[in-house]
């Protein structure tokens, strides 16, 4: 048998795919593959990010990879009988992956290999362009690498949007015999999962980005701080690090150059606040995750008081793409001062949820109603929360907003980590505002008073508003409290909690003036709701929304 006659079947190992049965599907297919005529092997890839179609099964053919989905364990028998290994016709057949418009129309740079490769095959990684950025960087001086990243316009994808290259320049210029690169993988924002999917689906890209960073700033030690809620990501990263040590990418003399870099994973312990960079550094030092006052900035006095780069997974994961081509190429994507691509995450009540990586400047409507296909429930979209629990609630009437750092800020919203959570018209926005305060009270580190006490008082005052007690003056009080938290908190936790609260009050006033005890939400009286699926679903004809997409997947 020649190698060209080997058929490869891909079933994702991504934990979202596994959450709807991918492991069972893979086991059933692997069992059949052992007895199949011809040579069939099963590879566990990352997820393509078409999460509403998971588990997605792909089969190699001469024309390319053919996809099927969503493949429930109960579908596998029929699929095999129909001729899965020959990529035969079946009601779940989606056609050639490369022809699926939903994927084809994206601009995948950071996520270029996610779902394509075996996440732990270094050969696969390099055959798909992995390592090119690192090799090019190592042939340059650290200063040149920093300049290239500045030119790329790459900004902090964790949400703060600080230019990565400028931060690196500060660390490079700092004098110390000990510097660190720390990756913030404490992805705690609801509606975000891109960090997880990159770590599980293409861990080498993140690590390559960190090696490049360490070379650029002169750091010999790195940590990836991963939240404990992501056990699969932790396991995949640890395996990837082991492989890269074995191949000389990590440790002494990286790829036979004079640069050395040691990297390890540290696991968080269930504290949202550790996504804040100074709190994360405290946690890495083995302390309570309490926020530090700035200055000093971490670039000068970070981990153990040493100059430290702290960047998000997506920021560091974009570095190989920047360095593989050039900063200018990367900067040709995006718009305004938001350059490059953003990995948007479509979440919540959405028909076609998943990963959309594309240049900044796309409108929220294109994401929510275009790619997303409106709500999963089929009801009208009423609100979308962009940028996590600290992001604004945007009404359906304002979805023409373009996604970018400044464009969102101008609308009193934020792009954050690129998560977009969709709510239909059954949502009660007064409850969502209350939850924002409740979440802050639960997760506050407790260091500063506006956040620690303000959030508790916030829950109380919103409860009084909901109960109909002296509404007018309590809304004034709430606004005053929000001002205080915004201006007086030490970090973004207390400082941004008012954003979802105020946007809910501003955009959905009716929900705060309803008769107490009226359980209905703003369905009928809601001026902001627009019909879902306002875009012609035929735009995505190759990935139609099937009835079974809405049915329960049993495992």
């Amino acid at each position: 048998m020649t190698s060209s006659s080997v058929t490869t079947v891909y079933v994702p190992r991504d934990s979202a795919a596994k959450s709807v049965g991918a492991d069972e599907v893979a086991d059933l297919i692997a069992t059949a593959a052992r007895t199949a005529d011809g040579d069939v092997r099963v590879v566990r890839n990352g997820s393509r990010g078409m999460l509403w179609l998971e588990p997605v099964v792909e089969v190699t053919t001469d024309a390319g990879r053919v996809a099927y989905g969503p493949v429930n364990p109960s579908d596998v028998r029929g699929l095999l009988d129909a001729g899965l290994f020959d990529a035969a016709e079946h009601r779940l057949r989606l056609g050639l992956v490369d022809d699926i418009a939903w994927l084809k129309n994206q601009q995948r740079l950071t996520f270029a290999r996610v779902g394509v490769t075996d996440p732990l095959s270094l050969d696969d990684y390099q055959q798909h362009g992995g390592g090119a950025g690192l090799r090019r960087a190592l042939a340059m001086t650290p200063e040149q690498v920093v300049d290239e990243v500045i030119e790329s316009g790459l900004r902090g994808r964790g949400g703060a949007g600080f230019p990565a290259g400028i931060k690196w320049k500060t660390v490079l210029g700092a004098t110390s015999d000990r510097k660190y690169v720390c990756c913030n993988a404490d992805e705690g924002d609801s509606g975000t999962f891109a960090d997880r999917m990159l770590m599980e689906g293409d861990p080498f890209t993140l690590i390559e980005g960190m090696i490049i960073t360490s070379y650029a700033v002169g750091a010999a030690t790195g940590y990836i701080y991963v939240r404990s809620e992501y056990p699969d990501a932790v396991a995949t990263l640890n395996s990837a690090i082991e492989i890269l040590y074995a191949h000389g990418w990590l440790g002494e003399r990286v790829l036979n150059t004079g640069h050395s870099f040691d990297l390890s994973v540290r696991v968080g312990a269930g504290a949202y606040i550790c996504g804040e960079e100074t709190s994360m550094l405290e946690s890495l030092e083995g302390k309570r995750g309490m926020v530090r006052a700035k200055p000093p900035i971490p670039a000068l006095q970070g981990l153990f008081g040493q100059p430290t780069v702290v960047n998000n997974v997506l920021t560091l994961g974009s570095v190989p793409a920047v360095m593989a081509e050039s900063g200018a190429t990367y900067a040709s994507y995006g718009f305004d001062r938001s350059l490059g691509t953003q990995v948007f995450q479509l979440a919540g009540n959405i028909a076609r949820g998943g990963i959309v990586e594309t240049g900044f400047g796309i409108t929220l409507d294109e994401l929510v109603n275009g790619y997303g296909g409106g709500t999963r429930s089929g009801r009208p979209v009423r609100a979308v929360q962009v940028g996590g629990p600290l992001g604004a609630y945007i009404p359906a009437s304002q979805l023409e907003l373009r996604a970018g750092y400044e464009s969102m800020a101008a609308a009193e919203a934020m792009i954050g980590h690129g998560g977009i959570v969709v709510f239909d018209d059954t949502v009660d926005m007064a409850q969502q505002a209350r939850f924002a305060m409740e979440f802050c009270a639960e997760e506050s580190c407790g260091k500063c008073t506006p956040c620690r006490i303000g959030s508790v008082r916030g829950v109380e005052v919103i409860d009084r508003i909901i109960a109909g007690e002296d509404r007018e003056s309590n809304l004034v009080l709430l606004d005053d409290l929000c001002n205080l938290m915004t201006e007086g908190s030490l970090c973004a936790m207390g400082g941004l909690t008012p954003m979802p609260v105020r946007s809910a009050v501003r955009n959905f006033a009716a929900d705060f003036s309803r008769e107490p005890g009226d359980g209905s939400s703003g369905t009928a009286d809601n001026e902001n709701a627009v019909a879902s699926s306002s875009r012609d679903p035929a735009d995505f004809a190759t990935s139609p929304r099937r009835p079974e997409l809405d049915t329960e997947v049993t495992t």
């Binding site: 709807v20 975000t192 540290r266 083995g286 919540g348 949820g353």
Partner: protein
């Protein structure tokens, strides 16, 4: 599937705690690593072990106690044989997490942070499991599940062999 047997509190446990702490002493800022390892080996972190960790790592007892009580993951008493975690964050709320949270508590007869009388299940809440396009999400003994409604919740909990 990880199970979490309740370990007897005895001198043997304290010795194990000491050896775990000693094994990480040379690492930078090892306290969280040590506490995670203790909890993995022994199921929880008994308050009596705080002093042992403190002396091994040359920290004050207050420092170790402060860290052990700051983070949600660290428990001072054994957990049930199965660990069920329900996501209560916004993305899951938008597809019915509030109802699921109520259902989970009612079915198991316990609140969040509590363990059933027969020690079969500990129920916890979490704010985001990173499965935001396939909510409501639940994690059982470290394994993630998506699109969980009441019926699927009951079936999954049943399957874990209560």
């Amino acid at each position: 599937m990880r199970s979490t047997p309740a370990a007897p509190v005895d001198a043997g446990a304290a010795d194990l705690v000491r050896s775990i702490a000693a094994a990480h002493r040379a690492e930078e800022g090892p306290l969280l690593v040590v506490l995670h390892d203790i909890q993995r080996e022994l199921g929880y972190i008994d308050p009596s072990w705080i002093a042992v960790v403190a002396s091994e790592l040359n920290l004050s007892r207050a420092e170790v106690h402060g860290v052990a009580t700051f983070y949600n993951d660290f428990r001072s008493s054994p957990r049930g044989r199965n660990h069920v975690v329900v996501c209560r964050a916004e993305a899951c709320q938008s597809v019915g997490a509030r109802a699921l949270a109520d259902h989970a508590q009612a079915t198991l007869g316990i609140g969040f942070g509590e363990t059933t009388d027969d020690a079969s299940v500990t129920l916890d809440q979490v704010f985001c499991l990173g499965n935001c396009a396939l909510g409501p999400a639940v994690q059982i003994n470290g394994q993630l599940f998506g699109r969980v409604d009441g019926d699927r919740f009951d079936a999954l909990v049943q399957k874990q062999g209560r």
